[in-house]
Amino acid sequence: MKTAAELKFGESGIIGDIDASHPSSRRILEVGFTPGQEIQLVNVSAFNDPLAFSVRGTIIAIRKNEASCIKLI
């Protein structure tokens, strides 16, 4: 299954599941990355990490490692 970390610049996807075993999973849910939400990779930081996603009308920067726990449909 594709994860948010594998999205290309400008590409969108719909969240299918959040890997609950990841230590940051609760916070990722709390900031709005929930199943069913459409997210878009809107920016990538200068060193290719962290990644900036649009979710629920805002931009949230998270590390690649954390983005990999966001599973897309």
């Binding site: 609760r26 849910l29 459409e38 962290p50 629920r56 009308g57 998270i62």
Partner: protein, 678 residues
């Protein structure tokens, strides 16, 4: 932080996610007249104030760091959540005002729901409805209130309209609850549950769909454009009101760019540090010469007596030494505040998260490190925003290496000694070099400590970086100005007394025992006679006795007891070094600025016995190196103890940085001498 507040006043606590307009609302309610530890970069402690008189409602209002849920993720969020359940000084709030950004409704209602379910008495302050309107949507606050079961008041953050209505709503609400027993909020573990979180979001989304509707009033052209865009991103689960701010996306393309992003980042940092020096310089000179004049006048009026000397050399010079660097602190706080208000600091943190994570730090270490250039104390406090304990400790560890503003007066004096006034630009360049060196050394020390630590502690690495990038906006200058003023005032209040007391002690040590030497004044001008007399006096002073102990340590680095005494006094606060030197090299016999007459005296000074010049390019360079590394600040050690919970960290910091400073100074001074620099 202890403020006298009447017990029987109702307590209203402000909560809300970051970037929800919480601080703006607090400023409206308090009239910006608050007691606070509110530093740029992060509100890390609570602020408390009475509601402004004009609102005619007597209550205390408490502001604390932004949270997105009732389960804290970092120490600063814990401060907020703890103060909600039971504030250590003010108890349980009578009412909670939750700020909610209307354009971020589905995210921000999560906290509100948790608050309501924990049976807090909640009133919602709904902000940024204008942004929603510009997107062509409107929100029904009454319907939202009905759905949630609490009052909702719309506030305009720019004009302050709605604040009056909010107060009246709060007042009514408190009147009503007064009749019933005060309930204690419920701590709910269910908040932890992922399923619970998801069902919360589901409910919130259905509420959102009902309360936010398309407006017909808005401009048709805009609507058409919007409709087209919506077709592209149309998705049932996302209400289309959730559109991103397009200019923000465009600006970010540049500011987070692989090349341009880094170029802008370094330009902004460079501009920040040079402006601290250049902008503050004229004001500093004004303050400096003002106090030089006052000191001179005091001696003239009071005569060359002990009390005249105490006032002129002890109190006036000491106060001058404090006030002289207030402009620099103010400017740095101002720039930091502006950068934060525009939304850039979050981008800066994102940009350097990757490199910082390589050395065991976090992108969130960026703001604390940057604040460290103003003062280590607020910087250490603001590390509370770092969730990971190891990263937080490492950030605290290296913050004292950041070139804080207290070092500026020292560098200013030493550089002025090395470079004549007409070549001030060289001094500016060297100063920039000092900053670069301080950054490089802190980064390499962090890297080394991190490697070392990894071997000792096999701590689970739960490093995390999750940060909202708020939409760019024009900074509210008046609010930034007022926050900088508060920060500078706080800093002055804290450092001021220490410096004043130490200047007085230094004065005492250099003046007493009141020895009046008989010197042969034949063939000498009046000025020369005064100088000879004061230098003989100093040799018989208590400071000199004290200095004899330090002499063996000072000799290897080419300095004598006078510098040693100044260095010791600088352990109370670095800037005291300048005022101590000023006490030792008496400089009130002249109408010129304190600095120029002091420099003249310093150039003449020789090491006793050898007749060698005390201040040479080599020893001055050595002193600069010493100040780059040494942890000469009692307050920093105290804060480090408080924030890390034991004396271990401050002890390691103190010994490691001081030993490093001494070793590097030794190498610098003797290395330069071997190379033929005097």
């Amino acid at each position: 932080m202890k403020t006298i507040i009447l017990e029987d006043l109702p307590l209203i606590t402000l909560v809300g996610p970051p970037n929800s307009g919480k601080t703006t609302l607090f400023n409206y309610l308090s009239g910006q007249n608050y007691k606070t530890v509110n530093y740029p970069g992060a509100t890390v402690e609570y602020s408390i104030s009475k509601i402004q008189k004009k609102f005619n409602f007597n209550a205390n209002i408490l502001d604390s760091p932004g949270i997105i849920s009732l389960i804290p993720n970092s120490p600063d969020e814990k401060v907020s959540v703890d103060s909600l359940y039971s504030h250590p000084m003010y108890g349980v709030p009578d009412l909670v005002i939750a700020t909610v950004d209307a354009s971020q409704l589905s995210r921000h209602l999560l906290l509100v729901r948790q608050l309501i379910e924990s049976e807090f008495n909640v009133v919602i302050s709904l902000t940024m409805t204008d942004i929603l309107q510009r997107k062509g949507y409107e929100i029904s606050s009454t319907l939202l209130g009905q759905k949630l079961g609490c009052a909702v008041v719309v506030i305009d953050g720019r004009t302050g309209s709605g604040v009056e209505e909010l107060i009246r709503t709060v007042e009514k609400n408190i009147e009503k609850t007064k009749l019933s027993e005060k309930k204690n909020p419920i701590v709910r573990d269910t908040n932890l549950d992922v399923k619970y979180l998801l069902s919360s979001f589901k409910e919130i989304e259905s509420i959102e769909k009902e309360v936010i509707t398309l407006t017909n009033k808005s401009d048709k052209n805009i609507n058409l454009k919007k409709a087209n865009k919506q077709l592209l991103v149309l998705n049932e689960t996302i209400p289309s009101a959730n559109q991103l701010d397009q200019p923000t996306l465009k600006i970010d393309r540049i500011l987070l760019h692989k090349v341009w992003g880094l170029v802008v980042f370094f330009l902004i940092m460079a501009a920040t540090f040079t402006s601290i020096f250049w902008l503050a310089q004229p004001i500093m000179e004004l303050v400096d010469s003002g106090f030089g004049f006052l000191s001179y006048e005091a001696i003239n009026i009071l005569g060359n007596t002990w009390y005249g000397n105490l006032i002129a050399n002890g109190i006036i010079s000491g106060t001058g030494a404090v006030l002289v660097f207030v402009p620099q602190i103010l400017i740095l706080f101002l720039i930091l505040g502006l950068l934060e208000d525009t939304g850039y600091l979050a981008r800066g943190a994102m940009l350097i998260d990757k490199p910082l994570s390589k050395i065991g730090l976090n992108g969130r270490s960026f703001v604390p490190m940057l604040s460290g250039f103003a003062c280590a104390i607020p910087a250490i406090l603001s590390t509370r925003t770092i969730p990971n304990k190891r990263e937080r400790l490492l950030t605290i560890f290296i913050i004292p290496l950041m070139s804080c503003s207290a070092r500026l007066p020292v560098y200013a004096l030493l550089l002025a000694f090395l470079f004549p006034a007409d070549k001030a630009w060289i001094a500016g360049l060297v100063l920039a070099g000092i900053y670069v060196l301080s950054i490089l050394s802190s980064v390499s020390i962090a890297g080394i400590v991190n490697k070392f630590k990894n071997k000792i502690i096999n701590a689970e690495d739960r490093s995390s970086f999750i940060l909202e990038l708020p939409a760019y906006r024009k900074p509210k200058f008046s609010m930034v100005l007022s926050n900088s003023y508060h920060s500078a005032k706080l800093y002055f209040k804290k450092a001021g007394p220490i410096i004043l007391v130490l200047s007085t002690i230094m004065w005492f040590l250099t003046y007493f025992p009141d020895y009046n030497p008989k010197v042969d004044t034949q063939n000498l001008t009046k000025d020369q006679a005064v100088e000879l007399q004061s230098s003989v006096r100093l040799e018989h002073s208590y400071a000199s006795d004290l200095g004899k102990f330090i002499q063996p340590v000072m000799s290897p680095i080419g300095m004598d007891w006078r510098v040693g005494v100044s260095l010791i006094s600088a352990f109370a606060a670095r800037e005291v070094f300048v005022s101590s030197l000023a006490m030792i090299f008496k400089v009130t016999d002249d109408k010129a600025t304190l600095q120029s007459s002091m420099l003249r005296e310093m150039r003449k000074a020789t090491i006793e016995g050898t007749g060698q010049r005390l201040f040479t390019p080599a020893t001055i360079a050595g002193l600069i190196v010493f100040f780059i590394f040494a942890l000469q600040c009692v307050s920093t050690l105290a804060v480090s103890r408080k924030e890390t919970g034991s004396w271990r960290m401050p002890a390691i910091q103190f010994f490691m940085f001081t030993i490093l400073a001494y070793v590097f100074t030794f190498i610098t001074v003797n290395g330069l001498r071997i190379l033929g620099v005097p």
